[in-house]
């Protein structure tokens, strides 16, 4: 009897242990090459920059101080310097604006696709899926090519006689916002579609039956039921838009900075790794706040990824 129980229990435990071991390679890779680097960056942010990039192993809070203040070279007094903060604020405003624009236009798009006949739906969906996975750099270059001074838009406008000198669009805030919208629009549509596709349209019929108008059905029934998709979509747009690097790099031309290229600059031409590390960690804490709100909103409903 007890021998029986012991041997079967042992076999079950053995199978369980093997399955747990199976997660080990993935966890080890992500831990060593994904999490450990973040820890190293945390350490770096408390060190001093070396002259040609890298760090000096000497404790310092200089990176965080210089994020907010400028130190006078002669008398070492600190004066508040909002330069970095304003870049963070700009990035935040851009990210929120992109998120709202994507939601306002993405919801109708997702709804339209979700209400197509079943056999058509997969083709409409593929139209969104292709840009979702396509090369972000190339898509951004494509925008650059048509909005630059010699680009197609200005070329046509001049040929049509609407304008006689090209409108400067590249390297402006407009270019960046357009680029962000264009880059992350599919990230909004896909989770919205996933929610809307599951929507039980008998509920909509019930709404009509109970004297609701189209607009009211949308507001009172469809949008509340699509909330998980809305929240997931907003997160999937907001996080990458906040840390966008490619878009401002190509469409902002180094003059209209966002957090992403500010950080890259510290690790590149500015050669101030500790400052870059501190800036990255401040961005990371913003992302964690967003994730925290997301987790609170979807508590118990499981984490929904974009796809």
């Amino acid at each position: 009897m007890s021998a029986l129980q012991r041997s079967t229990a042992k076999r079950d435990a053995g199978i369980d242990r093997v399955s747990r071991l199976l997660t080990l390679p993935s966890l080890a890779i992500i831990f060593v090459f994904g999490i450990l680097p973040l820890v190293i960056m945390l350490v770096y942010s408390f060190l001093k920059p070396a002259a040609y990039g890298g760090v000096e192993w000497e404790f310092s809070t200089e990176a965080y101080v210089s994020f907010f203040f400028t130190q006078d070279i002669f008398d070492e007094t600190l004066t508040f310097n909002p330069d970095y903060l304003s870049i963070y604020l700009r990035s935040f405003v851009f990210a929120v604006g992109t998120m709202i624009a994507c939601l306002l236009l993405g919801f109708p798009t997702a709804y339209f696709i979700a209400t197509r006949p079943a056999h058509q739906r997969q083709w409409w969906l593929l139209l969104v899926t292709i840009p979702f996975w396509s090369n972000l750099l190339i898509r951004t270059v494509a925008i650059m090519l048509i909005i630059r001074d010699e680009g197609l838009v200005n070329h046509w406008l001049i040929n049509l006689g609407v304008i006689d000198r090209p409108i400067v669009m590249l390297y402006t805030n407009f270019a960046i916002v357009l680029g962000l919208f264009y880059s992350f629009f599919p990230f909004m549509v896909l989770p919205l579609y996933t929610s809307l596709e599951k929507l039980d349209f008998r509920l909509v019929e019930a709404g009509f039956d109970l004297y609701a108008t189209r607009g009211r059905v949308l507001r009172r029934i469809i949008i509340p039921l699509a909330k998980p998709g809305i929240v997931a979509g907003c997160l999937l747009v907001f996080i990458p838009a906040l840390g966008a690097y490619v878009t401002p790099l190509i469409l902002g031309g180094g003059t209209h900075l966002m957090i992403g290229d500010l950080i890259a600059q510290q690790f590149g031409s500015s050669r101030n790794w500790p400052l870059g590390a501190a800036q990255a960690l401040i961005l990371m804490s913003g992302v964690l706040v967003a994730l925290f709100f997301y987790a609170r909103n979807t508590a118990g409903k499981g984490v929904g990824h974009g796809r």
Partner: protein, 268 residues
């Protein structure tokens, strides 16, 4: 039409918005691809159809070098990530839940949550430290490792989804018909999981192949990948050669995306 008034799903204007957005989404790409076939050397003036720029792009020494680097990095990272992700998916689904399981799941999805630029500079810091402390520089290996990290969650998601859809009683049926656990895995679990694995590998390949941010910051001299090379091309006087290169890359991405989507649909 009677149907119009009674279709409860219809919301006025939504079709128009959808059409407009999809047009905005595709117009720049289409323009880019069309002008790759332009005979003229000025990017926005159309003079005639020509394949010269494709020939020139494929002849470009730098493009060759970058393509070789990309293939080495993407294929290696895809293989490692897909194997690791398959094992992890088997370990996190269809087993009795274990302590730390949700922590394991969070760890695997972590690379999706961290903005790319942070991953890029953190990885750069990490390899700089490894190089200065141990004197180790893996060359392209650095890139492979960095790509593997973010490929794992992309490969993991479709494999896990497929496993969760799979009926556990099929495994029971195999065991009932005298298949040992290993034979059950080989003859039942693995063949049924195969579409998920292929789909996951395709996604891993796409994200690795398309990656720019991390590659640009981590790659050392001579380790340019295709996207990094294309970026360097945008900083020189532009000719349709750039369009041709972009079109080639887009074509490869779209091929893999459609392939992965097709496999995903066959499940239904």
């Amino acid at each position: 039409m009677a149907g119009r008034g009674t279709d409860v799903r219809r919301q006025p204007g939504f079709g128009l918005i959808a059409g407009l957005c999809l047009t905005i989404l595709y117009a720049p790409i289409l323009v880019l691809v069309i002008f790759a076939f332009n005979a003229n050397s000025i990017v926005s003036i159309w003079t005639g159809v020509s394949l010269d720029w494709f020939a020139k792009a494929l002849d470009n020494e730098g493009f060759h070098q970058a393509a070789t680097n990309t293939m080495i990095v993407s294929i290696t990272a895809t293989i490692i990530a897909t194997m690791a992700a398959t094992a992890a998916a088997l370990g996190t689904t269809r087993v009795r839940s274990w302590r730390g399981q949700s922590a394991a799941y969070m760890t695997i999805s972590l690379p999706l949550m961290v903005p790319e630029i942070i991953t890029a500079v953190a990885t750069l810091s990490f390899f700089a430290l490894v190089a200065s402390v141990f004197g180790i520089n893996l060359g392209l290996g650095n890139l492979i490792v960095a790509h593997t990290v973010f490929c794992i969650p992309f490969a993991y998601m479709p494999i896990r989804a497929r496993l969760e859809d799979m009926d556990l009683t099929l495994d029971h049926a195999a065991a009932d018909l005298y298949a040992t656990p290993w034979m059950t895995f080989r003859r039942v679990t693995l063949p049924l999981l195969a579409p998920g694995i292929v789909s996951g590998a395709a996604l891993a390949f796409i994200v690795s192949f398309d990656d720019f941010t991390i590659s640009q910051l981590v790659a050392g001299p001579g380790q340019q990948t295709l996207p990094v090379f294309i970026w360097s091309m945008t900083r020189r006087p532009m000719t349709p050669e750039l369009n041709a290169m972009c079109a080639i890359l887009l074509g490869i991405s779209i091929l893999f995306i459609s392939f992965s989507a097709l496999i995903g649909q066959r499940r239904r």
